[in-house]
Symmetry: C2
Subunit: 393 residues, 2 copies
């Protein structure tokens, strides 16, 4: 056995994440490793919390990155806030609502599912009805930006309804953070988790989370211990919390945190609102190009995420073959459909660092070429002009 | 608010981990990010499994890195192998046995604790007695290399005893992997977890694990679902397992995995046995220097880990002040005591890339200087000669 060093090719990542990572972030990750209790590192952790509060638009003291991917951020919310026997309403409009159900049930909770069509926003009226029918509900959970479909739900309204019925609200913001308006304090979100590999354009592996005072009250007053030692906020708080002395909990992923710190510094330099506007502008340009080709969006216009464009695969086209050609001939990754949408849609991400005019033009040119070669039923030679008009505007 | 990019100082990491990271590993982490289902990345995952099997000395098919730190690797073993009501004997001889107890109880298991003195190996006779007294025990768990004390236990014998009584054995190898002999197949270990930031000299954040066929049988035949969705091996296997098509579970920490791959390539280049021998040789040199100064080891000679040297703080010395001076004047990090040993011991790591003659000499010189300045009751000007004799031998 002799295995050599791994030298990955340079891709353009326009799938549902990971998205292209800024060279600044990659460089930051290669800086010298510090001990996880080194005073210099601890000072960096404090900066990280300030930067994450900025990104989430919150003053929540417990705002920090979980030392594992977004799925673990999701689980951190559920294991801390759901006790055995608790009824939780999960609004599902894609793959990730299903994962929430799994989390509720594995915590011993009772999941009441409120189903919406995949590709649509969560319907607030259905949530309202479900809460009336289940007055003993403790928690409401939904996905702000469904990565599997590209649909955006009205988080503010959904949280309002949850609170009206005395429930805490858990919000999945894996794909929304930094790409589309998200206001944790203004919308009174109780618990939220995100990922680093979407609109923050950091490498995957960490999950920023934030918890309100009310949510922490519930955690502190649990009747049973949190079933996960690794994710128990009572313990994590002693390391990431505001205490003067940091207590060892687990060894923090030092260099991954350097990367996230740099990604957040970049976000702060650009400004959160400017980042949202950039995502929107590039989305509109990509959309103009795709629609000029005759490709159709899965999600109605008013519910669309700018950072994740799900489009229907044209009749008769082998979607996997198209993705394989894009990857081999252009080094371009776009995403396949997930779950019920597998084989039926492509998901084109314009996230974070990858949301730029060059990528819009590159993706449209590549798609135009590949779809032309396989004689797909689309309009050729028109996408770039349409996108350019939007980019110039 | 304006927070700038973070530029950490260059330390020499000779604590209990993270240890100094090879520049090759840091550089690998800064390579271009790939998608987690990219065929090139999936091929790298296959190499990673081969390399981890080599490091663990196992042919276990389920050998892979958990996408989170060692504490999550520990929890992955317990949540999968312990069902509610299962009796688990935990041999505790330091901090991490206590963490195992927490894990057992949070899984709904019944933990029977077998206590040994901190700083000593686990006593096989006590385990034998406990198993005779508790014939309904399902699992035995112990720490191979106690990071809190520097004691090494006889994993082979402990696993034999567990098997004789029909139990599965879970072994914590966070600090032992690659630093001291560890033979998963030869010793018939059922489930093992480690960390990347000790003798592999990778950055923290991943936890290599390996599970035997018998262990996986138990996981597949569970009566209840694994309580953690993120750590459920039934799901993780579909992504990391031998299947021809990888199913999406969570987004893998791509760049962190590049780092681990490179760390394992370095291990393979050196050879596992050579790595063990190097750790032993540098330990003996450090030991000679420390003993020449009059410093005393916590652990008896036959039970000592070469990669983690716990020494007693001399009478009247402010141990935290010494560590602070080492850090500020030399950029040298050594570890404090944990748990019951806080304030009483220093822990000097010689792990992975950091286990080299330069570090042995550097640490001894720095200690000699700092202890001299605070007038500690130790012998001065003799440590380096003693170490040099060992290094020349």
């Amino acid at each position: 056995m002799t295995i050599k060093s791994f030298h990955p090719p340079q891709r353009v990542l326009m799938g549902p994440g990971p998205s292209d990572v800024s060279p600044r972030v990659l460089e930051a990750m290669s800086r010298p490793t510090l001990g996880h209790l080194d005073p210099v590192f601890v000072a960096m952790m404090d900066e990280m919390k300030v930067l994450l509060k900025y990104a989430f638009m919150t003053s929540n003291e417990l705002t920090m990155p979980v030392s594992a991917p977004g799925s673990a951020g999701m689980e951190t919310c559920f294991v801390n806030l759901v006790e055995p026997g608790d009824k939780v309403i999960v609004c599902q409009n894609g793959v990730f609502g299903g994962r929430m159900k799994e989390n509720v049930e594995r915590c011993g909770g009772i999941a009441v599912m409120v189903q919406d069509d995949w590709g649509r926003a969560v319907d607030p009226q259905k949530l309202e009805d479900a809460l009336k029918a289940n007055p003993d509900t403790k928690v409401v959970a939904f996905v702000h930006a469904e990565t599997s479909t590209g649909a955006q739900s009205d988080a503010k309204t959904l949280v309002e309804i949850a609170h009206k019925h005395g429930c805490l609200a858990i919000v999945d913001a894996v794909t929304s953070l930094a790409g589309t308006p998200l206001k944790v304090d203004e919308w009174n979100i109780d618990a939220i988790y995100s990922g680093t590999q979407k609109c923050l354009s950091c490498t995957p592996g960490l999950s920023p989370v934030s918890f309100s005072e009310q949510a922490l009250e519930k955690v502190k007053n649990r009747k049973s211990k949190v079933q996960s030692w690794f994710m128990d906020l009572n313990l994590v708080m002693a390391y990431w919390g505001g205490a003067t002395k940091r207590a060892y909990h687990h060894t923090a992923p030092i260099n991954a945190l350097y990367g996230l710190h740099e990604a957040l510094v970049i976000l702060q330099e650009e400004g959160l609102q400017n980042s949202w506007a950039r995502h929107q502008k590039n989305h509109l340009a990509l959309r103009a190009g795709l629609e000029a080709m005759g490709l159709k969006f899965v999600v109605p216009e008013s519910e669309r995420l700018p950072q994740l464009n799900a489009i229907t695969v044209p009749e008769g086209v082998d979607e996997a073959a198209v993705r394989a050609m894009l990857l081999s001939d252009y080094g371009l990754e776009i995403g396949a459909g997930l779950g019920a949408m597998a084989g039926k849609v492509w998901r084109i991400g314009l996230m974070g660092h990858a949301s730029n005019p060059r990528n819009v033009r590159f993706c449209l040119s590549a798609l135009d070429d590949v779809l032309g070669r396989i004689k797909a039923p689309v309009q050729h030679g028109v996408a770039l002009d349409a996108a350019n008009r939007k980019l110039a505007g």
